[in-house]
């Protein structure tokens, strides 16, 4: 494939994936599938006036949305859709995913501080609590996939799953990564920074207009990105019979994103101290066990 066609296909897949995620998010809230909904809410937010809170921190108020959406786009650019269809195949891809997604939470902290409102500020700290909670298990399970592939190239990690997908090879790792992916994207059971019910919207509470639009768009992109990461790392990426390879990646990604939203519909929100406690008391030992298991199986 020529690079131009390649980039075109990736952009198209990406845009349609984000649109589908938007439709699914509405479905997870209202229970109806409404294909025109995202367009309407886009126009609504685009036309709405921009209210800036009094005495906001100007620098962070302007840069936080850019940082938020920027790091997510950088992450999607290193995830492979098919052997040839990857914008940048980075030599430290598996680490880069983790490094970029840390900055999602930093952006939330910045925005929470910038607004100068109590709810937003508490939302910002909870973002860091969530980061502390999920970061360790994510790193450890990512290492286990790297161990199997003997390389940090994401394409190599997909190739290493040729015989057996990682979801079967390291089921504990998959479960931990799946839960952590929900926490990375701050989706409903773990939507502490932006909790609608108890924090009145948290970090997003006082945003209107373009900044709210950017955060909503960034969140949808983030959901698509982490689903794609789950597919690449655990569900065999582009592998599958009959269909072209990028179609397989896309379908699996949509399936994972749908499951994310479906889980959020039926789960109660978890308190941030409980999240920290469960992750450190059970998540870290389980991740260690996962590494040990993968290590022993690899040596046999």
């Amino acid at each position: 494939m020529t690079p131009f066609l390649n980039g075109f296909i990736i952009t198209l897949l990406f845009l349609s994936g984000v649109y589908a995620a938007a439709v699914m998010e509405r479905w997870s809230v209202t229970g109806h599938v409404n294909w025109g909904g995202p367009v309407r809410s886009f126009l609504l937010l685009f036309a709405r006036e921009e209210i800036k809170t009094r005495k906001h921190d100007k620098v962070f108020f302007e840069t936080a949305p850019i940082l938020f959406i920027g790091v997510i786009l950088l992450t999607i650019s290193i995830l492979p859709f098919a052997p040839g269809s990857v914008i940048i195949d980075l030599g430290t891809g598996a680490l880069f995913i983790n490094a970029a997604l840390v900055y999602v939470m930093v952006a939330l902290l910045m925005m929470g501080w910038a607004i100068n409102g109590v709810y937003a500020m508490i939302g910002g700290w909870r973002a860091i609590a969530q980061l502390i909670a999920y970061s360790m298990p994510v790193v450890m399970v990512l290492t286990a996939t790297v161990m199997r592939a003997e390389s940090m190239f994401l394409t190599d990690i997909v190739e290493s799953q040729k015989g057996l997908w990682n979801i079967l090879y390291q089921p504990v790792g998959f479960i931990l990564f799946y839960i952590s992916a929900l926490a990375i994207a701050f989706l409903p059971p773990f939507d502490l920074p932006t909790a609608g019910g108890e924090l009145a919207g948290g970090v997003w509470a006082d945003l209107t207009g373009a900044r709210k639009l950017l955060f909503r768009l960034g969140r949808l992109t983030l959901v698509f990105t982490v689903s794609a990461a789950v597919v690449v790392l655990y569900l065999g990426g582009w592998m599958g019979p009959w269909l072209p390879d990028f179609v397989w990646t896309f379908l699996k990604t949509l399936l994972v994103a749908a499951s994310f939203f479906a889980v959020g519909r039926f789960m109660p929100r978890i308190r941030h101290d409980h999240l920290l406690e469960y992750n450190w008391k059970y998540g870290v030992p389980l991740a260690l066990y996962n590494i040990f298991q993968v290590g022993v199986v690899l040596l046999l």
């Binding site: 685009f46 036309a47 006036e49 209210i51 800036k52 809170t53 009094r54 005495k55 949305p65 850019i66 959406i69 920027g70 786009l73 950088l74 650019s77 914008i87 940048i88 980075l90 030599g91 598996a94 680490l95 100068n116 409102g117 109590v118 709810y119 937003a120 500020m121 700290w125 609590a129 502390i132 909670a133 970061s135 360790m136 450890m140 290492t143 286990a144 790297v146 161990m147 003997e150 940090m152 009145a200 509470a205 207009g209 373009a210 639009l213 950017l214 941030h272 101290d273 920290l276 406690e277 450190w280 870290v284 030992p285 260690l288 590494i291 040990f292 290590g295 022993v296 690899l298 040596l299």
Partner: protein, 120 residues
């Protein structure tokens, strides 16, 4: 692709994103100004008007985890290169990292016994 080209591409993507966001801001600005109404710019606080700026001293309840995390986090710096060569080296690598992780796990257990793993 040469590594430096890749990094330039990443940089270009970042700059493009920033440019697009800036264009969005410009378009928004050209569409109209915000009306200046009393009480509009005060952050939401459950119906009341927030009396003071929110930049005060707060107690952050998870600082025990934060301290543990700062130290525990460093383990990943050694784990990634280790994972890349794991198969090549074999049983020696497993033992090495086993010892290393056991040492760190002792720290986790110590924190647990010192009641660090709860809301402070």
């Amino acid at each position: 692709m040469a590594p430096l080209t890749q990094y330039l591409l990443l940089l270009g993507m970042g700059i493009t994103t920033a440019g697009l966001v800036w264009m969005l801001y410009l378009i928004k600005q050209s569409l109209g100004q915000t009306l200046d109404e009393p009480g509009k710019d005060i952050p939401a606080e459950s119906g009341n008007l927030a009396p003071k700026p929110a930049w005060l001293r707060y107690h952050v309840h998870y600082y025990g985890y934060a301290l543990l995390f700062l130290a525990f986090d460093m383990e990943m710096a050694y784990m990634y290169p280790w994972a890349v060569v794991y198969r090549e080296v074999g049983i020696l690598a497993l033992l090495d990292m086993g010892v290393f992780l056991m040492i760190l796990f002792l720290g986790l257990i110590y924190t647990w016994t010192q009641l660090g793993l709860k809301r402070q």
